[in-house]
């Protein structure tokens, strides 16, 4: 801690919480499990601890991990028109842009729908498992969590899932479409990813990384 000389006497910085969105400062009082502390000005949720959130997130993260690997590998949609059939996996869809500058688009698509979600899950497990087991934080846990948070807007698995629905509507009257196993895996994946993001209280994770149990 640095000196507080030029700050209001009696106001320790550890007692403050500041809304990252509108810079409103509040005196910090930890909400109970299941409660949430919201910024009164812009209504951003600041702290929302949940009982056993860590364990739930880890369980969901393992499920997401297997589903991503499975969904990327198994066929995902099949098309059948006048005897011509074609089955594609998600990787095929991501790599559909080929030739010339399109290759960059392929790489970006593959990253957005498979690799970034995958890396985020692995980072989440790496950071949270020691915390939940009451062990000292993992080495580089802080940069790992930072990277995971920075990737959050670029993880677009759920958008891809809605994109499938749109594509289905467009082709449905041209050909017979079938769903492969990966389609259902991806459907579950989307629900789990959303659940995982809503269980996660970032403040609690940062707090635990700063005050690790030393046992």
């Amino acid at each position: 801690m640095k000196d507080f000389a030029d700050i209001e006497p009696g106001l320790a910085l550890d007692d403050l919480i500041v809304c990252p969105q509108c810079d409103a400062a509040y005196r910090f009082k930890k909400p109970g499990n299941g409660e949430r502390a919201q910024c009164q000005r812009c209504h951003k949720t600041l702290v929302a601890p949940r009982r056993n959130a860590g364990l739930q997130i880890i369980a969901v993260a393992f499920a997401v991990l297997f589903l991503i690997v499975g969904a990327a590998y198994f066929p995902f949609l099949t098309i059948d028109a006048a005897g011509n059939t074609n089955a594609v996996s998600i990787l095929d869809a991501a790599l559909a842009f080929s030739g010339g500058p399109m290759i960059f688009l392929s790489l970006a698509t593959a990253a957005l729908i498979i690799f970034i979600p995958l890396v985020r899950v692995l980072l989440t497990l790496y950071v949270l498992i020691p915390i939940v087991l009451d062990r000292p934080a993992a080495k580089y846990a802080i940069p790992a969590f930072r990277l995971s948070e920075a990737m959050r807007p670029w993880s677009m698995a759920e958008i891809f899932a809605i994109g499938c629905a749109v594509a289905l509507v467009k082709v449905a009257d041209l050909a017979n479409l079938g769903f492969g196993p990966a389609f259902w895996m991806f459907g579950i994946l989307v629900v789990l990813v959303i659940a995982q993001d809503s269980f996660m209280c970032k403040w609690s994770v940062w707090y635990r990384l700063e005050h690790p149990k030393t046992s």
């Binding site: 509108c22 812009c42 074609n86 842009f97 807007p153 670029w154 677009m156 467009k170 082709v171 940062w206």
Partner: protein, 216 residues
């Protein structure tokens, strides 16, 4: 949560002589350079924020022009080959009677991107100039833009799925056109532009704005 003031008189961290980390919400004395908890560079108000917003914004607008001029999809069927732009494709659908789908495409690929350009420009101007729109409304606008930004990638994903799926040898095939790459770049630059905007500036009282009374 106990406010540092009453709800009518919320004190910003800057007024307290404190700079807060935007990533982990921890407070530090004004002038601290890096957050000691998560390592993020601290800046009470980022003076370069608006420049970055405008730089990405201009890139986004520039990329959006070829996205509309080049074909988005190249459809080959047994007898004909067809290239359609975003707007051309929607017009064609409307000619075939699918007004609903045409309207959705126009809304998602034209109205929403243009709306985002307008909204980011408005927000960036509104922190400098006086505006009639309340702070709360502008914050909501910002959150909507940030939320919708990622969803514009849906066009690209639909093109990817269609091009991978509809590869039926001679019968029919769909291939992505050049517009898809520019559309993707436009979406990415628009997202970066929205992320570069420092929403705390919305809540600062600007000289002559007189918006203090509209705080809540």
């Amino acid at each position: 949560m106990v406010s540092s003031g009453t709800s009518q008189n919320i004190v910003s961290a800057r007024e307290l002589g404190v700079v807060a980390c935007r990533r982990c919400t921890k407070a530090w004395p004004l002038g601290t350079e890096r957050c000691g908890r998560c390592g993020k560079a601290l800046e009470s108000r980022d003076p370069l924020s608006l420049q970055r917003v405008w730089a990405y914004w201009i890139m986004g607008v520039i990329c959006y022009i070829p996205a509309n001029l080049y074909p988005m999809l190249q459809t080959k069927t047994l007898f004909q080959s067809d290239e359609s732009t975003i707007i051309g494709g929607a017009v064609e659908l409307a000619h075939h009677g699918s007004f609903g789908v045409a309207a959705i495409i126009l809304f998602a690929s034209v109205v929403i991107p243009l709306g985002k350009f307008w909204a980011i420009a408005f927000l960036a101007i509104s922190v400098r100039e006086r505006t009639m729109v309340s702070k709360g409304m502008r914050q909501v606008l910002y959150e909507v833009v940030e939320y919708i930004g990622r969803w514009s990638m849906i066009d690209i994903f639909v093109v990817a799925i269609l091009s991978a799926l509809v590869q039926l040898k001679t019968l029919a095939s769909i291939n992505p056109g050049m517009a898809s790459i520019f559309f993707a770049l436009s979406v990415i630059f628009t997202m970066l532009s929205a992320q570069a905007f420092d929403s705390r500036m919305i809540w600062d009282v600007q000289a002559g704005n007189g918006a203090r009374s509209r705080d809540e």
